[in-house]
């Protein structure tokens, strides 16, 4: 399978300055439905994401958030426009990208450690170094002693932690997360949100996070991209100017509430209607 040679910035920027890692230019997806009609899920979507950023994608259900993620993951060809990742055109089997789904999607026939190793196994034989790295990642997500267990022996939150460890095994530059904490109970979710920030701080991954929680988007992101209802377009891009590192105290920051209200207005307010 052809691989993109290596990551090159879209715009050669002076060293030290942030570099664009992901660019969607007029990207659009139109599905042909079973009844033969065309359904435009995403239309004229433009977004640039810098190396190391956390960007959240929020919007009404069915507005095309998952479709945007699937385009970046190479699971969905854009029917319009272009997508560049690190300067290369997006292709299938591009291991600079990893995806975390809402459900952990651990393979029930493999131990937790082997699940973490699965992306390696999909490409080649695993080595002792791979296994050591998988163990390290399990330790990073707090599952150091769970590698030998089978997935069903883990709670939902632990399973999702294992799936995050798995997404990091090929050391991708970009982590695509589709409502990764959406299926977890509130306490586990809060716990894992901060853990994700720790992982981001220690690995410097670029993260594109789909979430249906406006608070989560503001808490975690450098920028929040708000999408309009179908056809999904980028409606507004909001910089979250709250100092890092963020903690659960962050929601008490004076600006926090303004941001959540602005996003909420964007989704539900009269502005949202005029675009749709």
């Amino acid at each position: 399978m052809a691989m993109v040679p290596h990551l090159r910035p879209v715009d050669p920027a002076p060293s030290g300055a942030p570099q664009t890692l992901i660019e969607l230019a007029h990207a659009g997806v139109t599905f042909r439905t079973r009844t033969g009609e065309d359904l435009t899920a995403v239309e004229d979507f433009n977004l640039r994401i810098q190396d190391g950023e956390i960007v959240s994608l929020v919007g009404p259900s069915g507005c095309g958030k998952s479709t945007v993620l699937r385009m970046l993951a190479g699971l969905q060809e854009p029917t319009n426009g272009d997508i560049w990742i690190g300067g290369g055109k997006r292709r299938r089997g591009f291991s600079e990208v990893a995806i975390v789904f809402q459900r952990p999607t651990l393979l029930p026939w493999l131990s937790v450690l082997k699940n973490v190793l699965y992306p390696v196994r999909a490409l080649r034989r695993t080595t002792a170094a791979d296994r050591a790295r998988a163990q390290e990642l399990l330790e990073m997500v707090g599952l150091g002693d769970m590698g030998g267990r089978m997935p069903h022996e883990l709670s939902g939150g632990m399973q999702q932690r294992a799936s995050i460890a798995r997404s990091l095994i090929l050391d991708p530059k970009i982590l695509l997360m589709d409502e990764p904490f959406g299926a977890l109970d509130a306490l586990t979710r809060e716990d894992m949100q901060l853990d994700l920030l720790d992982i981001h701080a220690s690995t410097g991954k670029t993260i594109l996070l789909v979430t249906h929680s406006i608070n989560e988007a503001v808490l975690l992101s450098d920028r929040v991209a708000v999408m309009s209802a179908r056809p999904g377009r980028l409606q507004e891009l909001i910089d979250i100017d709250i100092p890092t590192p963020r903690t659960h105290e962050t929601s008490a920051h004076p600006a926090f509430h303004d941001y959540t209200r602005r996003i909420r207005d964007n989704i539900f307010g009269p502005n949202a209607r005029s675009h749709a």
Binding site: L75, F94, V97, L107, A122, L123
Partner: protein, 255 residues
């Protein structure tokens, strides 16, 4: 009595009661042995065969096992082939359904003429009987693979073959074992049919030859032996499933 013990003791009691009643009715109503032999008559009929009952069982068992192995070797890859790709599916599936629609008992004598009177023909008959449920179960399991698992392997860069071997086939394991359970029972029937039309040994042959000589209790003893073989093979498939693929026995609706 503990539930576990009850699960063993109750069926044994019921079985013993069934045999006892059968014996009682045959003796008290004086039912002729050629209409319905009593359990004790069947026992004597079997005893008359001596060790040849067991050597013939071994012959039939060998046909069943080889034929069943062939059915797996044909059924599982075919199941993958018809489910993994639309083109192959649309091309081959109708043909296979047609092949399966042929009543095996009607084509068995013809197969003997084509392939001769040896073990090969019997194995072909067993395979034709047993591959279909295995194939259908495999195809069902392959198609049941959750989209997210496939997405996972694609994002990692797995090719189509890796995807089948590391995702689709393992996911299909519990389905395949469902097919194997049916397949192994059907293989017993296939072996008996094959021996009816073409054999000078084996339990199926003993049933026809004993019946021809009105030795009904002996024929019945062979039938009982066939049932025992069938049950043991069915359980053997279950043991294999539990032993090698224990993970697939739990039904986790969360996945």
């Amino acid at each position: 009595m503990s539930p576990a013990a009850r699960k063993i003791v109750l069926p044994i009691l019921a079985f013993a009661l069934f045999i006892g009643l059968w014996e009682l009715i045959s003796v008290s109503l004086e039912i002729p042995v050629y209409l319905l032999p009593s359990p004790s008559a069947i026992w004597e009929g079997g005893a008359k065969l001596g060790t040849s009952l067991f050597t013939n069982t071994a012959v039939t068992l060998k046909t069943i096992l080889l034929g069943f192995a062939l059915s797996c070797a044909v059924g599982i890859p075919l199941g993958v082939l018809v489910s993994v790709n639309r083109l192959t599916s649309e091309a081959i599936y109708p043909l296979i359904v047609f092949l399966n629609a042929i009543p095996i008992i009607s084509i068995a004598p013809i197969l003997v003429v084509i392939f001769g009177t040896d073990e090969t023909t019997r194995l072909i008959i067993v395979t034709l009987t047993a591959f279909f449920p295995i194939m259908v179960a495999t195809a069902t399991g392959i198609m049941d693979t959750p989209q997210e698992m496939l997405d996972l392997s694609r994002v990692a860069g797995a090719g189509p073959l890796t995807e089948i071997l590391t995702i689709r086939l393992p996911h299909a394991v519990p389905f395949i074992f469902g097919g194997l359970r049916i397949g192994v029972t059907v293989a017993v029937i296939g072996a008996v049919v094959a021996e009816f039309v073409n054999a000078n040994r084996g339990l199926g042959y003993l049933v026809t030859s004993s019946t021809a000589q009105f030795a009904i209790p002996t024929a019945m003893a062979c039938v009982v032996m066939l049932a025992v073989v069938s049950v043991i093979l069915y359980e053997a498939v279950n043991w294999t499933h539990r032993l090698l693929f224990g993970w697939s026995l739990r039904n986790d609706p969360g996945k």
